[in-house]
């Protein structure tokens, strides 16, 4: 699905140059569920943003579905993003002025989907995440967990091949967090690739592969067998 080679990202202010990512190599296959872990400021969000094409790398190569996209224009990236990616954020990022239905529908509006089909697809996905009864409400009238379910619905309604989740349970209590994780796992089972940034070991436990990032480097990658609950450390690979 995607392949990062020698990827670097540096931020420049007037005097200081900070390296956020340094020679990162990651290969993610279709159908994987990958968790990216690491302490605050380690570069994991930068990594996710680059994978999500919201940011461009300073150097190295980013191949998405075999295509080298590191030099793409903003417009071309927007098109690629639209076709392939779905996003879920820690802070939900729903539009306050729109209802639940309209928020989810928004993702389809940029896909030129006809109105009738839009309605069907939104209805179906609301059903799937269990938010149908709240279709006409505004985000401010929902609980955090409900809001995040709307966000998940919005991320998947356009049937992306890759879902990127940035701390999806970070603003939720454990019960609601578990619900959202279950949803993600379900989607992954149905074939969608999921890449998730998280602090939570519990959440990471749902992933098939965990990538540890520290100071801009990938320091460890771990695989675990299907179904096995991960509690401790992972098998080290050469960093």
């Amino acid at each position: 699905m995607l392949k990062l080679q020698n990827l670097t990202k540096t931020f420049r202010t007037d005097e200081v140059e900070t390296t956020a990512l340094d020679a990162v190599n990651i290969d993610i296959k279709e159908g994987e569920f990958v968790a990216i872990m690491g302490p605050s400021g380690c570069g994991k969000s930068t990594l996710l943003n680059i994978i999500g094409m919201l940011d461009t790398p300073s150097g190295g190569s980013y191949q998405f579905k075999g295509e080298e996209i590191s030099g793409y224009s903003e417009g071309a990236l927007a098109d690629l993003r639209k076709k392939n990616l779905g996003f879920i954020f820690q802070s939900f990022n729903l539009i306050d002025e729109l209802t639940v239905f309209e928020n989810i529908e928004l993702a389809l509006l940029y896909h030129d989907v006809p109105a009738k089909e839009r309605r069907e697809r939104v209805t179906a996905v609301m059903e799937k995440v269990g938010i149908s009864h709240r279709a006409g409400h505004k985000p401010s009238q929902l609980s955090g967990g409900q809001q995040q379910r709307v966000a998940v619905a919005r991320a998947v309604v356009s049937s992306p091949s890759l879902i990127l989740a940035d701390e999806p349970t970070g603003n939720l209590d454990s019960q609601h967090g578990a619900e959202v994780m279950a949803l993600l796992k379900q989607l992954n089972k149905e074939g969608t690739t999921v890449v998730m940034v998280t602090h939570s070991r519990t959440d990471a436990g749902h992933a098939r592969r965990v990538i540890n990032v520290l100071d801009g480097h990938v320091v460890a990658e771990g695989l675990r067998p299907e179904g096995e609950l991960v509690t401790g450390s992972f098998r080290s690979v050469a960093a």
């Binding site: 098109d79 729109l98 928004l106 940029y110």
Partner: protein, 828 residues
């Protein structure tokens, strides 16, 4: 997708009600001002376009450039020009002359004096305006036919059909005829330079007693209009005219010398549609358009719109952080930047459309007052097909784009990654600097307009109230007719007037101050024949005129009854034989080569007598007095060097000096006397104060309009600042909290915020002052009599703007400063 944009837009507008109200109200007021000004500009630039074939119709104008005097130009041509041009220029299809006559019209027991345009019967071949009844082909065929406007038909015949009715007319120079109404025309619209209510045919033999009207090359009394053949080029005629003038215009002799008139006169063509704005005055037209006023108002309209658009831009970028998340999210969902730009532009267009609807309401509400001030009949007629609809559409789109473009580009440029992660505001400092810049622009415009308004108003008031050189209070003017037969009437009227209670002086004169006409005469210094003739304005006054008008004597004496030579009345032969005495004004001294008033007394000059084309002769005149200058025309015009003489023939205006309280009573008493003495003539009177005020009517209307729109500009600007200050106070809640925790008092915080908003106003002053100074100096130079540019006006305007800023910002600052800092700090 559009629906989604509109949904978000509407819900955003409703959520931020105050912001929406400021924006829509500001834009609406701006648009309404703009529409009102555009209607005026459109009206002023559409003059005479409605005449069929207007592009082929030309007015002939003339200019006399006589060395040593102000050039004299008029939208008129000497009477013989028409036939001479028709003979020599095959490009001309038809031509018509119009000359104004003011006969007395009798209707039953009522008498009126009416402006009647006498026109050649070819009128409709050139100026083809519609007749409501009557036949254009024959309407002016008979010498006793007259066509009248609907308003005149209503005035004279009421509900009875005017066609075939009789209007007996009598001119002061002895033309008496019963005219028969052969046609009625629609009242001419306000957008024509022609001011015509009645038209009678020119019958050359009627003008035999006044040969200068139709026959003399040295006199301008007729307006001449030409219609060219299709495809004919007016430039060809214009180019040929100088040669043609030399060939066709005959010479005259003056003081034994042959003078070629063609050397002094220049004839030219001007398209009919240009006459209102660019033409010279004639005697059948309405007050001319003021090109400078039109330019000034167009600029003001643009400025007001700019201020309103800046408000939108400023408030939109100030609030950018509120929209940042939506932008980022839409980008994440795959929106291209162009789609976001489109979304925000459609939002500002929506706002522009709403504002426009509100603006139309304002326009309709304001139109009656507006029309009264401007004395026009402006209206919004969307069905008239005169570009109004496309113009409005352009205006809406322009405002939508101008106001929304920067915010759209700014908002759509947000990088989603940072915003979505932190859920934080992303308002960059760059837009803050831009906002400060735009606020400077707004205030510079406001201060500039404030300065201009003050200067224009002060000058207008000054011009209207300035001392014209004589005592203007309580002067009542009664007009008596010219001519020998009314000599007795004039004398009796003056004698009777003197007996009335409240009248302290009565005098007679020819022209009066505020009469626009001038009669120039050529003077010569004995023993010093000048290569160029010396011209002085010649005015006739009775013995006691200067006494009654309270004009100071600088040297010598006033005219005195019974003193030899003071009475200049007589035939041309008499005048040449015996000469006479004159009084000159101060301005005439230098033109006659005199140093001081005292030096002038007893000096003799040769003065032209009779009409120039008769082979003018000279009379010897002696200066017996020098008086101070008095203003005959408006403050825009220079004081004319003048020679006064006492010629009884010309004394037809009676001036009564009354003590102020009894003015109206004296006027009523005079009317009663008039009705007994001359029931066949209409009584005409007015007060000098009103006549002077009327001279400045147009300027006052323009000053009022300018002041009103300037005020609106400032209000819109202040509204924007209010909104901006509100957001700024909100944004700085945390900063204010920290400052208070660190020990700042309420007044410190208020001072901080107020000073912050004072900086752009101070910078704006530095920009506005020189521009306004330059513009106003230029404008004031159009006046001969003008005020000085007082620095206080600039300082006051600047301070006023500062005050507006302080008041607008102060309330927010005070509120923000009073907040409990704990709340403020927990809040972020």
């Amino acid at each position: 997708m559009i629906k989604n944009y509109l949904t978000v837009a509407f819900r955003n507008l409703i959520k931020n009600r105050l912001y929406t109200a400021i924006n829509i109200f500001g834009l609406a007021v701006g648009l309404a001002s703009c529409i009102l000004i555009l209607l005026y500009v459109r009206h002023e630039t559409s003059y005479d376009e409605w005449f069929p074939n207007a592009d082929r119709i030309y007015q002939v104008h003339s200019r006399f450039d006589i060395p040593g005097r102000e050039p004299f130009a008029a939208g008129q041509a000497p009477g013989p020009t028409m036939s001479a041009m028709l003979k020599d220029f095959s490009e001309i299809e038809a031509a018509v002359r119009l000359t104004e006559v003011r006969p007395v019209i009798t209707r039953g027991s009522d008498v009126f004096r009416e402006d009647v345009a006498f026109a050649d019967p070819s009128l409709f071949q050139v100026l083809d305006f519609p007749l409501v009844s009557g036949d254009k082909a024959t309407a002016l065929a008979d010498v006793s036919s007259v066509i009248i406007s609907e308003a005149m038909a209503q005035k004279y015949f009421g509900l009875v059909s005017a066609l075939g009715q009789t209007l007996p007319m009598a001119t002061d120079w002895g033309l008496k005829r019963d005219y028969r109404v052969t046609g009625v025309f629609k009242d001419l619209p306000t957008n024509t330079h022609l001011d015509i209510k009645m038209i009678a045919p020119i019958n050359p033999s009627d003008f035999e007693k006044r040969p200068w009207v139709l026959e003399q090359w040295t006199s301008l009394n007729t307006s001449l209009y030409l219609k060219l053949k299709p495809g004919a080029n007016a430039d060809n005629i214009s180019r040929a005219l100088p040669e043609w003038e030399k060939r066709v215009i005959p010479g005259i002799s003056f003081g034994g010398k042959d003078i070629s008139i063609a050397d002094y006169i220049t004839i030219g063509l001007m398209n009919l549609t240009d006459v209102h704005l660019h033409g010279e005055r004639s005697n059948v037209d309405r007050p001319p358009g003021d090109l400078r006023a039109i330019a000034a108002f167009t600029v003001v309209a643009a400025m007001i719109l700019l201020i309103a658009c800046i408000n939108f831009t400023n408030l939109a970028t100030a609030r950018a952080s509120q929209r940042a998340r939506e932008v980022a999210l839409r980008k994440v969902l795959g929106a291209r930047r162009s789609q976001l730009v489109f979304q925000f532009l459609s939002e500002s267009l929506l706002l522009s459309v709403i504002a426009f609807a509100l603006a139309l309401v304002f326009v309709y509400a304001a139109l009656p007052v507006y029309n009264t001030v401007l004395q026009r009949q402006l209206g919004l007629n969307f069905l008239a097909g005169d570009m109004l609809v496309p113009m409005m559409a352009v205006l809406i789109v322009f405002v939508g784009l101008a106001a929304g473009l920067y915010p759209a580009l700014y908002l759509s440029g947000f990088r989603p990654a940072r915003i979505l992660k932190a859920n934080k505001s992303a308002a960059a400092e760059g837009s803050g600097r831009l906002r400060a810049g735009l606020v400077v622009v707004q205030f510079a415009i406001s201060i500039g307009l404030l300065v201009c308004t003050t200067v224009i108003y002060t000058q207008t008031v000054y011009a209207r109230n300035m001392n014209p050189g004589f005592d203007r209070t309580g002067l009542l003017i009664v007009r008596a007719p010219y001519g020998d037969e009314y000599k007795g009437l004039r004398a009796t009227l003056a004698a009777e007037a003197a007996k009335l209670q409240g009248v302290t002086a009565v005098t007679l004169s020819g022209d009066l101050p505020t009469d626009n006409g001038t009669n120039n005469n050529i003077f010569e210094i004995p023993g010093k024949p000048s290569p160029t003739p010396i011209l002085l304005s010649n005015r006739t006054v009775d013995y006691n005129f200067f006494d009654a008008y309270k004009v100071p004597l600088l040297a010598g004496r006033y005219f005195e009854e019974g003193r030899g030579g003071d009475d200049y009345t007589g035939t041309d032969d008499d005048k040449v034989a015996r000469g006479g005495n004159i009084i000159i004004n101060e301005a005439a001294l230098s033109r006659l080569g005199l140093g001081s008033p005292q030096e002038a007394i007893g000096k003799q000059f040769y003065q032209g007598v009779g009409n120039a084309s008769d082979g003018a002769r000279q009379a010897t005149v002696t200066v017996v007095g020098v008086v101070a200058n008095i203003m005959y025309r408006s403050a825009r015009d220079p004081i004319e060097p003048t020679a006064y003489e006492r010629d009884e023939e010309d004394l037809h205006a009676v001036s009564l000096r009354t003590d102020e309280a009894s003015g109206p009573a004296v006027n009523a008493a005079m009317e009663k006397i008039w009705r007994e003495l001359a029931p066949q003539l209409p009584y005409r009177s007015d007060f000098m104060e009103a006549r002077i005020a009327a001279q400045y009517e147009q300027e006052e209307a323009e000053a009022t309009m300018f002041a009103a729109f300037s005020a609106l500009a400032i209000i819109i600007g202040a509204l924007g600042l209010y909104g901006l200050a509100l957001f700024s106070a909100e944004r700085r809640t945390k900063e204010i909290g920290i400052r208070k925790v660190l020990g700042a008092k309420v007044k410190d915080v208020v001072r901080l915020l107020v000073l912050d908003f004072s900086k752009p106003v101070i910078v704006a002053n530095l920009i506005a002052w020189p521009v306004a100074w330059w513009a106003m100096r230029d404008w004031l130079n159009g006046f001969e009599q003008r005020i000085d540019l007082n620095p206080m006006v600039f300082a006051t305007s600047g301070f006023l703007a500062l005050l507006v800023a302080w008041i607008t910002v102060g309330s927010h600052a005070f509120k923000a400063a009073q907040e409990n800092p704990i709340r403020a700090l927990r809040y972020e």
